[in-house]
Amino acid sequence: MQNTIQEIQDLFPRIMINEVIIPDEHTLNDMWINYGFEGINKLFNERLNHNESSVQIEQESTLNQVYEGKLEFITPLGSYFILGNLSTELSNMKVSIRFDEFYSKRKHINKVDLYDRTQLMNLAKSISEVEHIDINLLEADLLKLTDLLESYREELFELASPELVKSKNKNLLPPEKQREAIQFLSESNLINRIDELIESSGVVGEESNRKMIFIIASTYKMLHPLHGLVQGTSGSGKSHLINSIANLMPQEDILNMTRVTSKSFYHYQDDDLINKLILIQDFDGLDSEAQFAFREMQSAGFVSSSTTYKDKYGKLVSTVKRVNANFASLVATTHAEIYYDNMSRSIVVGVDESAKQTLSIIEYQNKKTAGHIDERKIIQSKELLQNCIRILKPFQVVNQYADKLQLPVEAKMLRRLNTHYQSFVNQITLLHQFQREKDDQGRLVATIEDLELACEILFDAIMWKIDELDSSLRQFFDLLKLYIIKQPQGKQQSFSTREIRQTFNLSKTQAFRYIDELKSLEYIHVISGSSNKGYRYQVAYWDDMEKTRQRVKEGLMNQIQALK
């Protein structure tokens, strides 16, 4: 018999094994006949234990989540399921609870408040009556379940609370990376070297624009951030441009928004919009209220709304909710003109839509697909630029040449343009902060080199302010003039919309829009034709933007030379 006992013990180590030894010369039958119930009882109570020490304690039952909205709690009596989400009101624990009895597989579904003792007892009583289970065991199970649910609900609350989500000091760089970045920022010819890195990180073409957008984006940490508005027709690569430049900024500081609801800007918490770079992929998608809030934050630096709310006694109280904002933004749109108010606060950038740019993009895309581009180099360049931005600090800048430079008077909104220009110069100084001197108040001193660079890079943006036509229209008009001059009748040549559309390979709506706008600006006029046979147009205004550009550029350069 001992062998058998050992065998069972080996096979089932977790089960307690006891022995009842019948005295020699007797059988259980004898005992039963002679001693009856009491005798057998006594015999069994004296049973010897074999392996109490090696039997392990049963595991505690825990709460499992089966899927969203269903929690499971398994006990020896059966399975309890909590259906639906827990109430957020902490004073009650109203649940829909389903109990599956273990053997009979019968289900009991009830709605109870587990914090209410009476309801809990009634539930236990009703189940115990049907299933013949000890009511105390059920009550113990339900109380345990209530405890587990309480801790579970607390965990959910903590997760939803915003304090845990933010961690302030994320951008602590390891020392070698810091050194590398400082080294990079301390050497001369910084802007050109930044330009090289931008190119090697995957931004194709747009030589003039990319530097400007990079500098605009890098102002987000500084005291006076700048805003950029990228304008171009559908599919010209505006989003691509802002996204590729945004990738070169520390990603933790970027807010990339596809959609903005009208009132969302008014309800941000404290630091949400401080020192961030905001990207809006399609500004045309914002409604007027959101645009208004955005403009206010750009110029004033905060929005505040006066609203009412109910205090704890139910009384209506008024309050002013203020959201502080200090961000730089890059926004893409197809129609820059429509957002006249926005235009003044942002530096307008036009996407290069020429055939040459298209070719270089295609070439780059092909190279990438064929595997000729070194991916590691791209990642390295990105990382270096990101680290450089991370270690820049927001100093104040003094520019003693501020009042010495005059911007061309033909420019629209000269005041704003001036502000932009000054900020731009400041930002260039800030980028060079490891190479510039500080005055005795700890402010960086701007040099003539900074002014020169600013003039060069910002030149296109200045020109857009002078130009009546927006970037894509200007490019089209220049091509049109070149085309017309080559025609047999020279400058007097008339043309139809179809001719233009087919020559320049435009879509129907695109061609129509261009012609329509030029017509309304009176750069072209109708010379003959009718509405059903089609109109023929002629160029009415042969402006020479080239000449103007030349003139303005020379003017600025001369001023700078004079300062040296």
Partner: protein, 189 residues
């Protein structure tokens, strides 16, 4: 020819009738001496005459399950004689996991030393323990198990299993493995 389960069921019915018939006084006295009841222990009686005056096909069936064995004993009809399993014995049925009778254990009641025997090595007496068992009693032999069941020491979730005279068989291990709620095993010997 019917299958084994059906044949054994038929034999079991016949033996159940046997113990309840008016003639089997000795069998019932035997049980009474040991304070065992028919209802609680599932005991029945085999007089050993089950095959008398029965058709050849019937005898074939009994032979197939091993209940009868061919012998050279003389018979009144002149045909070949047969030996019967557990002749003149109290018989206890052993069941498989579906509850069908698959085996018998018999105790000769009129011999001086009680001769016991198993028909085959399958089954468990009294049955496979139910799944909700928490305490399992294992006895050395069937008599002990019967006495235990009779003494009603068993509570709601207890069960008994009898070994084959102290021998552990594969079906015992199989049965224990099914018991997910099992907490304790008590060996009685």
């Amino acid at each position: 020819m019917r299958n084994k389960i059906e044949i054994l069921k038929m034999i079991h019915t016949s033996m159940n009738n046997g113990i309840r018939s008016g003639k089997s006084i000795l069998a019932r006295d035997w049980l009474k001496d040991r304070s065992l009841s028919i209802e609680l222990t599932q005991a029945c009686y085999n007089s050993g005459q089950i095959h008398h005056r029965k058709s050849d096909a019937y005898i074939e069936e009994l032979l197939s399950v091993g209940f009868l064995t061919k012998s050279d004993a003389p018979t009144t009809t002149g045909k070949k004689g047969h030996g019967c399993f557990a002749k003149d014995s109290i018989v206890f049925p052993l069941r498989d996991k579906n509850g069908d009778v698959v085996n018998f254990y018999g105790i000769r009641i009129q011999t001086v030393s009680e001769i016991t025997g198993y028909l085959n090595q399958e089954g468990i007496y009294p049955a496979y323990p139910p799944k909700q068992t928490t305490i399992l009693y294992i006895t050395k032999n069937i008599m002990d198990a019967a006495s235990l069941m009779e003494s009603k020491q068993l509570e709601n979730r207890d069960a008994v299993m009898a070994l084959f005279d102290g021998e552990l068989k594969p079906q015992h291990i199989e049965a224990i493995k099914e018991l997910t709620q099992l907490k304790e095993i008590i060996f009685i010997h």
